[in-house]
Symmetry: C2
Subunit: 552 residues, 2 copies
């Protein structure tokens, strides 16, 4: 953990009082981009741990700027990722070269920068502690990003991207003779408070295309979120191809809330999402919600249920053949005592584990109102064994604390009343409290989209809480991190999702990343205000909360 | 054409002074939706031709409401389309029954309504003139939609949808005991001013997925637009599969502005788009831009060019193998005098005609700066013959007026200086003047997205013009209609497209639909203000122009 600087605000003010118009760069190459105003540099979200000004001249991006990737191919990939942002908008080459330093060695500090105007990305396992920690050192001739891991370097480029003006997001040539963009000289030292910083997308109530999920991943990467939890199955739809149970998708994947035709991810689609996320150092956490929320599976394979006549319970919401397109919860369940149920669970877990490189499988476990306590606990324990059998760590919603948890299994707090059962067993929590982090809640009573059963969540409500003190009986050590679920009963496309996620998801990202003592609502609302132009350029539909004076 | 009522505003005011709280419906079934406020009924865009109040009680939607489709299966499809909107949000059955009336007969006026609370859709070729004209008669027990064609009935449901509160767009059950929604008694008589009301999407500069195009089609249908012009090819990408020239997509489809990987529509994808549009009575107009704007084809098949070394001209914008990802125009062209060029054009036109049920093929023809006048005219005339050979009507950008046009061919005005050449030959124009209808222009100098070479286009600028008087030398008879192009140099996803299209595309829709003497900026800005809640529910990213007092 990085030692935090107390006088952060003051230091920022000094650092960012650097002249708005960049000095002439040392090379004769024409500079690109408009100058960084003081507003631009105050806008980093989540707030970095420590920022220190230095007296020298700023680093100025020019057409001569080049990037050196000092490490294995993953470092080069991150360098290329950042170079593409510069290239597409500035029509400059930004060449990336690779120079391999032996892993584990202390990075050399001077040789690469010898020729000036260079961005260096390098690994350093000696001076940097923490797998996601990084430093950025800015001087007139060198912009040096150092981290212990490629993930840390990627996170450093996310900070650097926010330090550049929003216009870098434009995908066409900047006007000739556009003024230079510069980054004031100084040092940023940063590391996350929590290892788990997640966004959950419910692709079951409404299906989202691979392209939409990729756009969401891009947004997550901009705010240093590192876990994409996909709620892949629910009563209204089954979204992931399972070869041994093909009707799950051909029958169970063809519906969604409102009666449209749904959809599902083939294994190739899922692989595409996983790889796209991995390239941005985001781990996909697949959830198969069990034993409740399983109507789509039972519609496909009625023998998985206990022959309850579910459709007749709900009248016109239900369609023929057991498909459900309403939004009620708690009424469906796999038949907990049948052998076929566990053959089903094992097949699904086995196939899912095989296509998921990340270490987690989420088994749901929430809102089961039609099984006895014993049936429920037995189900969770058997599912947990199967997840472990296939080499993964089990995650479940907080109710899984009613079962005996294995060491390392995680419980996801949402309504708080059963979360301590997991903590008492020594298991950590992912903090997703409904009244703060359920981003499908309306902002105000006037918000058209969203629900309100967990409360109204204006931006400040999503921001202004501390995971460690949220629930009595918890300490920071009990907490793996923070995650913001987006349930999609009312959300039928990416535009609607973004309206509910932005700006609240960046707020949750800062709750998960930045130290509690460093951050404040006033600081956040000032910084996030400057993100609006970038969102508009990226085509992001956001809620212009009146709690913020947005930059026009 | 419908005879227009002069005192429209006054009549509207009388009609819509009907009580905001609906009367108790005649049946005992519980009503659904919240009541229609006077604001709600003032919001129809485009403005209908004539609205007449009557003294009776309003029509109230209840759980007993049923729909009768009186005509062939196309009428039933439209009835089902409208019923789905009611069903998904209200969790009521809204049964649709079919009763076939012999085509061409005068519709019976009373029998279907005998049992009360019924929505009737019927064809009537005797009393209704105009293929897109319709009437809506509203009384306490019957809501009757009458048109000459299924397209007219579909347009009538678009009006009816806007008369219902935005909450009908919600895809989950309305709360129990929600107050009723009603439509005040009266009559709407409506028909379009122009037959051609188009939206053009440039899927070449940035690719848009089938799902994104479908979402755009849904938006068009809400505003009675009836032509989706897809700009399928340009220097930066080739987006439509042509079996006889496979590299067009495997090479030419893999790039876009900014250097991302692009994409293309398979023939199955294209068919899916065409069918989705046809179900909403929208004709897809495919454009293959020729002989300029063809770098993606030449990158795939270099022998189509005249061996100009295009990449070296543009430095870092160009990628290896001739792919171009910048935004300059006018520099590429098919080699106009080679035989292979016309084999290519014929193959493309033949395959495109075979997969396009609509009557039009757009051959582009704009901004060719590297061919002589004679080369250009010869090319257009040969392309025109090929389009006709395969049974289609040719459309080209206004420059095609320099060639000899066949009767019926259409020219699309954009910069106005060559459009009269087509008019003088007796050909009609599609009006897309850059300073009014190019919706990729910025709204104001502060708008981040978009370009500004044709001017800034705030909402009023897009609205406040008359196609018939826009250009000297034109009369209404020269004009087929209006179309708003969206070029996508700066637009990389649907959210960005919507930000530029909404609210300007509804403004252009009204320019194309409503009589000039009936409509006014003040009327439009009042009505469009009430569309914001619907857009938010639909997840649409819109520009909240300060020229409008948006409903919160």
């Amino acid at each position: 953990m990085i030692r935090l600087h107390r006088g952060l605000a003051t230091v920022c003010a000094v650092l960012f009082a650097a002249p708005a118009i960049a000095q002439t760069p040392p090379t004769a190459a024409p500079p690109m981009f408009s100058p960084l105003s003081s507003l631009d540099v105050h806008r980093v979200v989540p707030l970095p741990a420590r920022v220190t000004a230095s007296a020298g001249a700023p680093f100025v991006f020019t057409t001569a700027t080049r990037i050196v990737a000092d490490g294995p191919s993953e470092v080069t990939r991150t360098a290329e990722f950042f170079a593409r942002i510069l290239r597409k908008s500035a029509a400059v080459p930004v060449p990336v070269s690779n120079r391999r330093t032996p892993r584990g060695a202390r990075a050399p500090r001077d040789s690469a920068a010898a020729s000036g105007n260079v961005v260096i990305l390098q690994l350093d396992t000696v001076t940097v502690q923490g797998n996601e920690a990084y430093t950025i050192d800015i001087s007139a001739d060198t912009l040096r990003l150092v981290a212990r891991t490629p993930a840390g370097l990627f996170l450093a480029t996310a900070t650097l991207r926010q330090l550049l003006p929003a216009s870098v997001e434009m995908e066409h040539s900047a006007p000739r003779n556009a003024p230079a963009v510069s980054v004031p000289a100084g040092r940023i030292v940063d590391a996350p408070r929590f290892a788990w910083r997640g966004s959950m997308l419910d692709v079951a109530r409404h299906f989202f295309t691979v392209d939409e999920v990729k756009q969401h991943i891009d947004f997550m990467a901009l705010y240093k979120l590192n876990r994409l939890h996909l709620h892949l199955t629910d009563d209204q739809g089954w979204r992931i191809q399972i070869a041994s149970w093909p009707l799950l998708t051909t029958v169970g994947g063809r519906s969604e809330v409102g009666g449209a035709s749904g959809g599902f991810y083939t294994k190739a689609d899922y692989r595409e999402i996983v790889q796209y996320a991995a390239a941005r150092h985001i781990i996909v956490v697949p959830e198969i919600d069990m034993p409740g929320h399983t109507n789509s599976a039972i519609a496909a394979y009625p023998r998985l249920g206990c022959s309850r006549a579910t459709p007749s319970l709900f009248g016109p919401d239900s369609q023929p053949a057991g498909v459900y397109t309403g939004i009620r919860v708690g009424w469906s369940a796999l038949c907990a005592d049948k052998a076929i149920t566990y053959r089903f669970v094992e097949d699904v877990v086995r196939e899912l584990a095989a296509m998921t490189p990340g270490p987690y499988i989420h088994i749901g476990g929430d809102e089961v109102e039609v099984l006895s306590h014993e049936q429920y606990a037995r189900f969770v324990e058997r599912a947990q064994r199967l997840v472990q059998k296939y080499g993964k760590t089990m995650i479940g919603w907080e109710e899984v604390g009613k079962a005996r948890l294995r060491p390392g299994s995680l419980a996801q707090l949402w309504r708080s009343d059963t979360a301590l059962l997991a903590v008492k067993q020594g298991n950590q929590l992912i903090m997703s409290p409904g009244p703060r982090a359920y981003l499908d809640m309306k902002y105000t009573a006037q918000t058209e989209l969203g629900l309100r059963w967990a409360g109204l969540i204006e931006l400040r409500t999503a921001y202004d809480w501390d995971p460690a003190t949220y629930s009595p009986g918890l300490t920071e050590a009990n907490i793996a991190g923070v995650e913001a679920p987006l349930w999609t009963e009312t959300v039928k496309n990416l535009g609607a999702a973004q309206y509910l996620l932005v700006p609240r998801l960046p707020a949750i990202a800062e709750v998960g990343w930045s130290e509690q003592s460093q951050r404040s609502w006033e600081g956040f609302r000032t910084r996030i205000a400057a993100h609006a132009p970038r969102w508009r350029l990226l085509g992001i539909n956001f809620y212009a909360s009146q709690q913020v004076e947005w930059v026009q």
